[in-house]
Symmetry: C2
Subunit: 407 residues, 2 copies
């Protein structure tokens, strides 16, 4: 696998465009269009929130059917969530505008929105934006980057990645972009992720690969524990790489799966690191678990602990909070078997051995925890399973971003 | 039921004392002793965290046995959690010191600690403190207040309450004190609650009453979602009121239960309102649930949502976050049936009707949300069950208290 430059336009046949359609104020890019020159197999995963935004419902209808997909329209600024029947009609109007501009069917168009909850889309602006973007579509790297910028809300950096693999003697490319975690009118941490690939793969295997990698990547990050109404991860596969179509779990499938996992993990970590107000990416590894489920439960409990996140912000080796968060996770383990380490670019340091603090240097611990990416590693010595979760620190700016936006 | 002044010394036969034993720095009171002149039935509930502090294990041994109890020794400053065998031995040494000073058995002494995790108790200071407190024991109201002050950590106010009821022609008093939520060396939100009563009640019925009221009171508050290693709620019943002993679920039991619920709810709300960094008590009522479990799940999901808590800090009627937190709670409901209201001393305002925003005034909503106690009421129109949870807003000071303590 080779990591390359680029994003949603890296794979063969994918084009993108972006415009400032006036959904956000101040002439900022707020709409993106991703287009494939040929119909694609589509797969996706969506928020488990009972309160689902209209575009989530629209996309589910299409992704769960046998329709092939050729376009994704995404806007930032307004989430189109809690908008009732009018919200659903606006999804259809958006898809119709794209269908007309691109000469495809409205059921070949996926839609996605991110922004404030409870407001209706400014649908005339959205449809005008779609018309404006169609002639701007380009396969250039810069077009992908502009699309990644257009879907940002309180994100401080745009987020793209791409990789190449060899399948059946053909070069297959996967690229993607995502946004998270916040909004111009912050209302909730929304994650959107769009992956494109020129791999030839059946719809069934594409969904299988996407679902299995999402569990280890996007579902293992947390900024604030609040699951959005709009979370959406989509993958489009055009087949233009010309590799033998993947229709079963063969070697090619596993090569593709690993590449997709790499793309999704990279994007997921970029979101966690750019969490609202974050100053550090916080990684938690659980080792020695008796099974994967136990490892996941423990890792997620630590990554979502407000007290632990505040300690990371303070560069404070407050290991009691980590052990405590593991303790209330619901997973069973013996606290008096736990070893705990902190690790970063500045080194690795053991803090606890068998549940009791070793004689470590607080200064060295603080030095390690002062890096931009820090890891806590807990070995519970029950078995061979492991899990990794990613989050960020809890900072004044998180409170500021989420308390002050109307003032 | 009559609400009266006082705390742990309000009921017949209960005495208290407090000293500065040197566990905390700067000559601050850090130890409390509660003593009953006669042996008491004892009941309690304890943290469900897998990582349990030594005093929790000590108290469970006694409360779950048939031992009667005459004293509680509590220190602040050090939590005696993650302290291994030495931590357990220090519980016993503390109990032995109290047994000697009070001329009772060591198994008649409960112990409790709150403070930093992972440090051993300064056991000589603790034992000296116990000896110092024994001759200071007093049944005066002031003695109870001093005890309530001695168990404070990052608490900004001490927390006491007391009520009186009539049982079988006798006046029965219940009083209590608690602490939460934070520490001088903040390490985790620890809650300790101590209730005393002169009611005559069997151990079995006392435990039943305590467990059932804890579910609706302490278990319905959250400051930061982090369940402590030290959480302990204890009740001692001396029988000195002379009422007919409560041994079954008769009318007296229900009168007692309601009084105990009142005491526990009052203390629980005091803790939520004094949550670390809090500027407001945030109450969430779920109405129209199909059963209690569903109502509890929904109420707790809202009360622990960081985004909702930050919005309360900002006096922002950000109802989308509340609906979102209900949506990811795991409880099933129809978002398009939900009515939502905000209420406080400044008034009551409907925000959503059947899942969609009504045309409310943002200014009036902000005025309502600017009070010290604010309530969100969600009616999901599925049935008759309801639940109430209490929390607080998420503020800069929460981050400051929990990030900066070593700097």
């Amino acid at each position: 696998m080779k990591i390359i430059e680029g994003g949603v336009t890296a794979a063969e046949g994918f084009q993108a465009a972006a415009v400032a359609a006036g959904v956000k104020k101040a002439n900022r890019k707020d709409m993106a269009l991703v287009y494939s020159t040929v119909p694609c197999q589509a797969a996706g995963t969506f928020t488990t929130n009972v309160v689902k935004a209209a575009p989530v419902k629209w996309d589910q209808q299409i992704v769960y059917s046998q329709e092939k997909v050729q376009a994704i329209v995404c806007n930032s600024g307004v989430a189109n969530a809690c908008t009732g029947q009018e919200g659903m009609e606006n999804c259809q109007k958006t898809a119709q505008a794209a269908a007309k501009a691109l000469n495809i069917g409205e059921n070949q168009v996926l839609v996605a929105s991110t922004g404030v909850i409870g407001q209706q889309l400014p649908i005339e602006k959205i449809c005008a934006g779609v018309e404006q973007m169609a002639p701007l579509l380009s396969e250039k790297k810069e077009a992908g980057t502009m699309a990644a910028q257009a879907i940002m809300t309180t994100d401080t950096v745009s987020k793209e990645t791409a990789v190449q693999i060899q399948l059946g003697g053909k070069t297959v490319t996967l690229g993607g972009m995502c946004k998270g975690s916040g909004m111009i009118h912050p209302n909730m941490c929304t994650m959107l992720s769009f992956i494109t690939t020129d791999a030839a793969i059946s719809k069934e295997m594409l969904q299988k690969a996407m679902s299995s990698t999402v569990a280890d990547t996007y579902n293992m990050i947390s900024v604030d524990g609040d699951t959005s109404t709009n979370d959406t991860a989509l993958v489009l596969a055009s087949g233009l790489a010309g590799n033998p179509e993947i229709t079963q779990e063969n070697e090619d499938y596993h090569t593709f799966l690993e590449a997709l996992r790499q793309v999704n993990e990279t994007l997921a970590k970029k979101m966690a690191a750019d969490g609202e107000g974050a100053t550090a990416l916080f990684e938690v590894k659980i080792l020695g678990a008796k099974d994967k489920a136990q490892a996941v439960t423990l890792a997620k409990s630590v990554i979502t602990s407000s007290l632990t996140k505040a300690a990371i912000f303070g560069h404070d080796a407050n290991w009691g909070r980590i052990l405590c968060a593991m303790g209330y996770s619901g997973a069973q383990f013996d606290p008096e078997q736990v070893d705990l380490f902190f690790e970063s670019a500045a080194g690795k340091l053991q803090i606890i051995e068998n549940g009791v603090a070793v004689d470590y240097s607080e200064e060295e611990a603080t030095r390690i925890l002062s890096e931009k990416e820090v890891t806590a590693i807990a070995d519970i010595k029950q078995g061979e399973a492991s899990a990794t979760a990613w989050g960020c620190d809890l900072t004044y700016d998180y409170v500021k971003i989420n308390a002050d936006y109307r003032s």
